[in-house]
Each structure stands twice: as structure tokens, then as C-alpha cells.
Symmetry: C2
């Protein structure tokens, strides 16, 4: 009594969530533009039902009953953990007034429109009042969860349960000086890397087929998923048995499709790998955004930008794109790992990427704390960019208006990208230590052992463990900067001949 009803409600919410996700997926992939208004109404309606069904009084009563019911059970059992997870989610959602949710949806919807217009030419001033409202709303949201040490804590906790602002600050403090030093070493002492041949004219059918082949070899199950195109690549899972990724193809440039497919493929392998017995239960979701990103980055960067990987796949790439025939594999390898400070986060290399993140973290923390006014954000962005990367954007479209996140209210989201980068290396190291044949496998295009280790140590657990515990169980360590820095130093000493 209690647990059974809870489980049934969670299963219904999973079905509702799957339908909602399809509405979003279709919006990004195939929906004709005329459908946009009705789609917004459909999404709002299903979202409202899902919210009401979850925060209902009877769910609270079932939870209390279920807590009594599981008392005395093995504390590591799935049922105990499922009740904990639901208690956490329920309490969080109940603390947020329904009126706030509705108002926030309206505020961010308007802000996203304004953001698009601002980027398209209307300028930051057009976006400013909207961002101010979003920021106020987010501060109000944080207020629902007092007490906390930092206003940033409750926001971060939504994305990365159990991780605090202080945790992020500690890791970032470890990471920043060596990263800056590495960028400087590359700039002053690294040999030149030419990446010009990655631009040109690349048949899109060949790009698609190559990407599909890589995905298949990675272990992506096309019977339980598919790949389509969209302007902004993403992964969505209607259930573990229907996981869809999208990729952006660019005739003029190979990189988006090559690494985009592996990135989204990494996300998708995670979703396809959550234990079947967790399907439509409270544990049948990913552990956190950081853990999700660790899976995409592991495949995109640690595997996909490795020498081993291209030993197997470069000949095939050359066969598909004849202009690469005269490019030696070493030149290709160095080109796809070229390091250069740039203005755009999503195009940044492995080394400078985290500098983009840390700069955003500093800015959003200052905004939330009230140490930085929205009106001063463009200037602060330029200064931060100059400090972090040595360059400043010529306009706000490439500066304070660059990312969609804040307009949608996603403050405290950025750190999860860096958490993912660090965790990717920690997890790969642990896998390679447990199964020493993995690097040799990659050279042969065999990923079964690596995927098997990830399935066993990460994917299958879903939400059973908080991200910190999941990482400790898989690697024996908490999240750390050192392994990532070692990985970068070794790799880029080779790429740039830093000796």
C-alpha cells in the first residue's frame, strides 16, 4: 500500500514524458512551421498534466506510506532508493508554487523569443529587460529552497544532485591555472597545426553513411533508436527502447557531423543502456547532466579524437572523401586536435573549452548574487573573454548573447559540461585499467569491451546512485581535475611537440 500506487503513477508519468519528448523531437526535426502555435499548446497541456499528477496530495500520502513500507529493507535495494529519489523530487516540486511555474514558462518563452531577435540584430538592449525578469524569477526560485550557502546551490542541485557551488569552485580553481598555462605553452612553443583541409566540399550522403557506420560500431542499437538532422543536435529518449539523436551536417566542413554523431551517440548509448528493469520506474533516468555529458565527451573526445580511433577509421574516411587522400594520418590527427582560443563555446577545442565554461560560471554566479547588473553583462563578458582567452567578441551576438541557456532560465547548467569533461577521462581511465585491451580494441574499431564496462559501471544504474557516488563506485575517486589535466598534457605535448 503506497509503494504500488507510487510505482504506477511513476509509470504513467514516464508514458506522459515519452509523449512530451516526442512533441519536442518532432518540433526540432520534421514539424512544418505552421504547427508551432498548436505544438506549444500541446506541450503546455501535457506538461501541466505531468506536473499535477506528480505533485498531487495523494502522491504525498503514498510517499509517506511507502517510506514506512521500505523501512527495514536493505538500504541499497532499488525500492529504498526509488522512494528516496521520489521524496527528493516531490519535495522539490511541491516547494515551487504552481503559479510560479506558469509565470516562469511565460517569462522564459518571451525571453527566448527576445533572445533570438536580439541575436538577429535587435541587440542586447532588446534582451536586457527579459534577462532581468528571468534572473529575478530564478532568484525567487532559489528562495523556495532556503537555507543554502549560495544562491547558486539549489539551481545546481537540479542538474547535478549532491554537488555544491563550493565543489565546483574547488575543482575549477584546480583546473584553471594549468589550463591557462597549457594554452600559453601551445601558443608560444607549439609547432604549427594546419586544419584547412577539414573545410571544403564534403558530400552529405557520405558524411551520413560514415557517421552511421561509426554509430553502429560504437554499439548504437538502431532497432531502439534513430538518427535525424536538426539545426541544433540533441539526444532524446522516449524510453530506453526509443532513443533518438540528431546531427547537423555541413557540406563545407567535416567536423560537425564526425564528432557530433559520436557526441550524441555517447548520450544515446547511456539512455539505451539503463537497466531494462528500471524502465518506467523512478530509477529509469540518467543520474545527472554531468554524468550524461561524461558519456558524450568520452566518445567524442577521448575515443573520437584519439590516434587509435583514426588508425581504424581514417582509411575509410579517405575513401569517402578523396581530397583527404593526400593528407597523412598524423596531419589529420593533429588537425582535429588543433587548439586555438576562439569566441564560440560550441566550436572550442578540448583545451580551451573549459575556459569558456569557467568564465560563464563566474558571470552567472555574479548575476545571481547581485554582484553584476544585467546592464553590465556585455562589458563584463568582453573583459572575461579577454582575461580567459586573450580575445574579445566584436559584438554581443558572439558575446553575451551567444548561448541560449540563460534566456530559458538555465542558470547553473554550464558547469555540468566541465564536470562531464573531467568525468569522461576518469571513467575512461578506470575502464582501461580494468580492461587493459581497450586501447588496442579501439585501434581495430572494436568497442564492445569499453561499452560493456560503461554499461556495467555507469549506464545500467540509471538514477540508483547520486552522481558523486556513481563516480566513486566506478573509479574509486570523487570528481577530480588531475586526471583530466594529465590526459590533456600527455595528448597535447604529442600534438604540439611540447616535449
Amino acid at each position: 500500500m503506497g509503494l504500488t500506487e507510487l510505482k504506477q503513477r511513476v509509470a504513467e508519468l514516464a508514458n506522459l514524458g515519452g509523449a512530451l519528448d516526442l512533441l519536442h523531437w518532432d518540433l526540432e526535426t520534421f514539424m512544418p512551421k505552421g504547427g508551432v502555435e498548436d505544438r506549444a499548446s500541446q506541450v503546455a497541456l501535457l506538461g501541466r498534466i505531468a506536473h499535477e499528477w506528480f505533485v498531487a496530495d495523494e502522491v504525498g500520502a503514498w510517499l509517506v506510506a511507502a517510506e514506512t513500507e521500505v523501512r527495514g529493507l536493505d538500504p541499497t535495494s532499488d525500492d529504498v532508493r526509488a522512494v528516496q529519489v521520489l521524496r527528493r523530487d516531490f519535495d522539490r516540486e511541491r516547494k515551487v508554487p504552481t503559479a510560479w511555474v506558469a509565470e516562469f514558462a511565460r517569462t522564459t518563452s518571451l525571453a527566448q523569443h527576445a533572445w533570438r531577435d536580439a541575436r538577429a540584430g535587435a541587440g542586447f538592449a532588446h534582451f536586457r529587460p527579459h534577462l532581468e525578469r528571468v534572473l529575478d524569477a530564478r532568484r525567487e526560485y532559489a528562495g523556495f529552497f532556503t537555507p543554502w550557502k549560495s544562491v547558486y546551490d539549489p539551481l545546481l542541485d537540479d542538474f547535478e544532485p549532491g554537488t555544491t557551488t563550493a565543489d565546483v569552485e574547488r575543482v575549477f580553481a584546480e583546473l584553471r591555472p594549468p589550463l591557462v598555462a597549457l594554452v600559453e605553452a601551445i601558443r608560444t612553443r607549439g609547432r604549427a597545426v594546419d586544419a584547412g583541409f577539414l573545410d571544403g566540399d564534403f558530400d552529405e550522403v557520405q558524411q551520413t553513411e560514415f557517421g552511421m557506420d561509426v554509430l553502429r560500431r560504437m554499439g548504437f542499437d538502431f532497432d531502439r533508436g534513430r538518427q535525424d538532422r536538426s539545426a541544433h543536435p540533441f539526444t532524446t529518449a522516449f524510453s530506453r527502447n526509443d532513443v533518438r539523436i540528431t546531427t547537423r551536417f555541413d557540406r563545407a566542413c567535416l567536423s560537425p557531423a564526425l564528432f557530433g554523431s559520436m557526441h550524441e551517440g555517447g548520450h544515446a548509448l547511456y539512455e539505451q543502456g539503463i537497466a531494462a528493469e528500471y524502465a518506467r520506474t523512478a530509477l529509469g533516468r540518467y543520474a545527472s547532466l554531468g554524468i550524461h555529458e561524461s558519456q558524450s565527451r568520452l566518445w567524442e573526445n577521448v575515443v573520437g579524437r584519439s590516434r587509435q580511433f583514426w588508425k581504424r577509421f581514417y582509411p575509410e574516411l579517405q575513401r569517402r572523401f578523396p581530397t583527404l587522400a593526400s593528407v597523412p594520418i598524423d596531419s589529420f590527427y593533429r588537425a582535429i586536435n588543433r587548439v586555438a582560443p576562439s569566441l564560440i563555446r560550441v566550436e572550442a577545442d578540448e583545451v580551451t573549452y573549459n575556459l569558456h565554461i569557467m568564465m560563464r560560471f563566474d558571470l552567472e554566479l555574479a548575476l545571481l548574487r547581485g554582484d553584476l547588473a544585467v546592464a553590465d553583462l556585455p562589458t563584463a563578458w568582453r573583459e572575461a573573454s579577454r582575461a580567459a582567452l586573450g580575445i574579445a567578441p566584436p559584438d554581443d551576438a558572439n558575446g553575451a548573447l551567444q548561448d541560449i541557456h540563460w534566456s530559458g532560465g538555465a542558470f547553473a547548467y554550464f558547469p555540468t559540461y566541465t564536470i562531464g569533461n573531467l568525468a569522461a577521462v576518469q571513467l575512461f581511465d578506470a575502464a582501461a585499467a580494468a580492461v587493459p585491451g581497450i586501447p588496442a580494441d579501439i585501434e581495430r574499431g572494436e568497442f564492445g569491451a569499453l561499452l560493456g564496462w560503461l554499461r556495467e559501471n555507469v549506464h545500467r544504474h540509471g538514477r540508483k546512485y547520486e552522481p558523486g557516488e556513481l563516480l566513486r563506485r566506478a573509479t574509486g575517486r570523487p570528481l577530480e581535475a588531475a586526471p583530466y589535466l594529465r590526459y590533456l598534457h600527455t595528448k597535447y605535448a604529442d600534438v604540439y611537440g611540447l616535449g
Copy 2:
């Protein structure tokens, strides 16, 4: 008070319906096979919510209040009609116990699986017990609506409001003898028609592009719709602003894509043409299946299989498919209008098609009345086929197992196809009488005047009028066999030189 709440509930149900339709569309087009179980749960859940929201007690109370509210209003006003339509739907749905709905969903789901297996080799005996259960359930359903003259009446009324079994019998009685005579005249006195060149090897990209071009010229708005592939072509409308059709392409045969696109395009123009002010209201749906089919048949057959149409489009078809270069337009025109009794309804020509329908009508009526046992259906089918078409299927896959309808519980659906065929001709005649330039327009590939007349006289009205009244308003006449028979006699005297 009452009407406002009703309208809001109807708008919410329209949003829910749009989401449900997307779940179905995706299932038929892009869903990976692993998604099938979860999709069934998602569909069941949203269907359950929609049903509960509609038959809720408060809706009954709002209806009573709304009926008082609209008393005294102009009886032809939209609000009056909306309340009538909702009263009709509400009373019908309330008469059906929720337990019956759930049981029927289970019964037909199992029956459809069994039907597939039976067709794939397990044989009719495998399907028989399922069909018996579906039939029993349908009889029980009819029982909820007593009194009626025929057990078939309440089932037919679901698809074709206001039309009775006696109406169908009367029209079919008019239709049958002249059709049989025409088939016989063609068989004995018609000159030979060669259609062999419609089979071959036809590039699918060219097929797609030709179909898209025709759809565009017909007036299909690709900003408010799209075309995809599926095994079984269909049209679905998530709203009037997002109407999707699917087409089946066959490399070896031109016809499915050519006429399939026009058929589904006709359905889609109807949905795109319902008045914008009816969106998400009780009147914002099609009038009946028969009226829907009249739109698809009008474009597919009356326009798409006419001499005028191909005068404009045949040169383009020849350009795309060089094997047709040596085929004169007259031969092509006769080939696409070749009449030959065949076993499969969906491949039947315009003349014999209705014989397939009438035979199914007779059989399902006998089944429902208890005059025919399910066990005897295969034999009865063979005899009916021999009587109607002069040929009998060699096996049940081409006989009693041919159509999916009965396995899904869709008894009394078949007559709507013939109603559509007749209404298509009546409507086209009325349009051509009102706008004499229409045939000449078609020769130039101009369809604006025809579409305009259909929009004004059929599409925009949605469910404002019952199908019978809609037809009388548009054509001045009730549904009749005579115009259709005149159309067939004129056309096929020409095609077959019956003089």
C-alpha cells in the same frame, strides 16, 4: 456559464488529440521497432485521459447549462450547432461503459495481431475466435444504442452521422445492376487496354518530386503540412496547421505514388481548409468519413484520372521517366483507367471498386445480424467474390483476411468509401456547373477555382452540417447514384470505345 467551460475543455481535448495523432503518425513513419510497447502505453494513456475528460460529469452539467444559454439564438449559429454536436458525442460516449471501452481495446489489439499472423500463414482458423469476440463486442456496443431498425445503424452513425442502413441499401441497389452491366460490357465489347508500361523501374526520387509538384499545384500548403513514406498511406491532422500525408513508393510500379499522393492530398486539402475560427472547437473536424473520402476521390479519380489533367502533366511525367517517351498520351490515359475485376480492393479500378464495397457490406451486415457465422465467412467471401466480380480468391489472405478493418472493430466503415465515390462526382459536377472554367483550368494545371469552390462549399464548414445537409447545400441534392453512373458511363464509353 457552461458554454465557456465547454469550449475550453474542447480546446484541451483538441490539444490532447493532436498529441495522440503525433504518437500514431510517428509509429507509422519513423519509430524504431523497439519503441512499439512503450508507444502502445503512451497511446493508451493519452486515450484514457481524453475519454475521461470528455465523459466527465462536469461536462454533462456544462452541456445542460450551455443548452439553456444558446436557447433563442439563431439556430444556424455556430454556438448552437457546436452544442448540438457536443450533446450528440457526449450522449454517445456516455452510453458506452468505460469497462467496455477498455475491454474492446484489448480485444481488438489481440485481434489485429492475430489477423496479421493469420495473413502471414497461420490461416483463417487462427483469426476466427478473435473475430468472433470482436463481433460479439460490436453487437454489445450496438445494444447500448437501442432502439434502432438495424443493428448496423448505430455503427454506421459513428462514421456517417445521419445516414442509415436503409439509405445505404437504397443507394447500393441503384448502383449495383448498372455497374455489373458496365463491367460486362467492357469485358465483352471493350477494346483491349495495355497497362504494361506502368510497371518497370521508376526512380523513386523522380516519383517523389513529381508527386510533390502535383501536391503543390493542387494547393497543398507545405508550410502547414508535410509528406513522408509509410507502408500504408494515410493522412493525419494534428491541427489545421499541421496536416501530414504519407505515400507508398514502389520502384517497380508508378501508380501507388502517382495516385496515392493525389488521394492523400485530397484528404489533406480538406483538413487544411477547415475554417481557422473553428480551430480547437467542436466544429473544427471533418463532417464524416464519406465526405472525407469524397475529397480524396475527387482529386485522385475525377481530376487525377482525367484526360484534362494529363494534358498538362504527362509531358512532365515523360521527362522524368524516359521509358514513357514512346507511349502516346491516349495509351497512357487508357492504361491508368484500365478496368479489370481483381481480388484486391485497394488496387481496384473506379468501376469495380464499389463492387468490392457492396460485397463487404453484405457480408458484415449478415455477420452482425447473425445470419452468417464467422466460421462460414471464408466460403461466403469466395461465393460473394465470384458473384460480384466473377473471380474468387485462391486463399483467405486475398479473401476474408484481406482488409484490416474488421480486426480493429471497424464494422460499417466500408460503405463510407462508396459514399465518398458518389459524393466526389456530385461535388465536382456542382463545382463545374458553378465555375464553368474548371475543366479548362485542369488542362493548364490550375486548380485554384476548384479548390476555392471546395473550400467554400465543403472544407471550411468542418462539422457545422451533417454530411447529408452539407451535400444538399453544396449540390442541391442528397447522395445519389445517378451522377456517378453517368460519369462512369461517359468516361468508360470513351476509354473502351463502347460507342
